[in-house]
């Protein structure tokens, strides 16, 4: 499944994954800094495109969810999450690169971990440890007796399952999508080379259509997952910042 690494230093394998991560950083930072280099009040094409992407994250993921008053400090994180995941996911649909970086679980864990630490940290900083824990584990307007069950359930769901699903959602969809395309490609190869003949060609054509369908489905999912990851992060931050329970 994995290509062999380009070279190794001790146990570190300098492989496609590493190249893609840094390529994505260069592409994103390069594009946005190129787009905004003039800071024109009336934007040209490049700046307009950059503003569209930036404004989408800033407004529909930041301002609309975290709120007009508090969203500004979160723009860099939201921006980085969205475009880092988007570009790394789309690498899975670009020929030759063909590897969604987040199909490697480590990358997904790191991103979800950064998100988790950020919103828990800001929640504790804002409300204090005790109040934050109460906010996370004790939903309001519930009979006191139910807290015996609710506190453990809410604790597990909000503080343990939440980051795990945050990471696994993006990892699993990327991993599965990557596999699905590989399966379609293997099927095409198998039908054409191992079966051969008319049946092989017809079957191969079917497998090709299937592969193309899965390819476009994958592009859609890759974009959607970047959006969902960032959206959930914004929702978590908003929940941590809000007053009361």
């Amino acid at each position: 499944m994995h290509l062999p690494p380009f070279f190794e230093i001790g146990s570190f394998e300098f492989a496609k994954h590493t190249v893609l991560i840094f390529l994505s950083v260069v592409l994103i930072a390069g594009f946005f800094m190129w787009a905004i280099r003039k800071q024109a009040l009336v934007p040209a094409k490049g700046q307009f495109l950059g503003e569209m992407g930036y404004g989408f994250v800033r407004n529909s993921l930041g301002r609309d969810i975290i709120g007009e008053k508090e969203f500004r400090p979160w723009i860099p994180l939201l921006f980085s999450f969205f475009f880092f995941i988007l570009v790394n996911n789309l690498f899975g649909s670009i020929p030759v690169l063909q590897l969604p970086t987040l199909s490697h679980p480590g990358s997904a864990y790191v991103l979800a971990g950064i998100a988790y630490i950020s919103w828990v940290f800001i929640g504790i900083k804002r409300h204090g440890f005790g109040h934050f824990m109460a906010k996370m584990t004790m939903p309001p307007d519930v009979p006191k007796a139910l807290y015996v069950f609710l506190i453990p359930i809410e604790f597990i769901s909000n503080l343990i399952i939440r980051p795990v699903t945050h990471a696994l959602r993006v990892f699993a969809t990327m991993f599965a999508g990557h596999m699905a395309i590989m399966v379609a490609a293997s099927l095409l190869g198998f039908l054409l080379s191992d079966v051969g003949g008319l049946g092989g060609i017809l079957g191969g054509a079917g497998a090709l259509l299937l592969g193309i369908f899965i390819y476009f489905l994958e592009v859609l999912i890759q974009v959607l997952q970047a959006y969902i990851f960032t959206l959930l992060f914004a929702v978590y931050v908003d929940g941590a910042l809000q007053e009361g329970h």
Partner: protein, 181 residues
Amino acid sequence: MTTTILAASENPLLPNGWEMLITAIGFALLLFAAIKWIVPMFERTYAERTEAIEGGLAKAEAAQAEADKARDEYNQQLESARLEAQRIREEARTEGEKILADFKDRANVESARITENAHTAIAAERSAAVVSLRNEVGSLAIQLSSKIVGESLSDDDRSRRVVDRFLSDLEQTPTDAGAHQ
């Protein structure tokens, strides 16, 4: 094929520590660029654009207000000019009326004076005429009567009394009728 099977047998949930480190470094670099350059530049552009638009709006508003003020002022001036014109017209009319009345009065007075003068003159002349007439008629009558009667009437006092009595008789009847004509 064999590599695929081998890879599938690994637990896909187990992360590679190096990959985690690389991802963290890559993400940190992007976040750094976002905090240091990308977000400030975009935000500054947004703020400048908002300011430019709001500045333009404020300017337009000021111009509008100024135009309104000028129009109000103009209307006010027009109104006051109209009032002024009306006042002047009114004044001129009163003035005219006054002048006319003045002239009428003066004409009346003048005509009354002229009439009065005429009356006085007529009366004076009449009395002068009466006096001279009386004298002349008297002397004529005396001359005539003395010629007829002779010496008896040469006494002046007596003759004057006679003439006077005669004349007053004369005045009472036919002269009155003559004067009325």
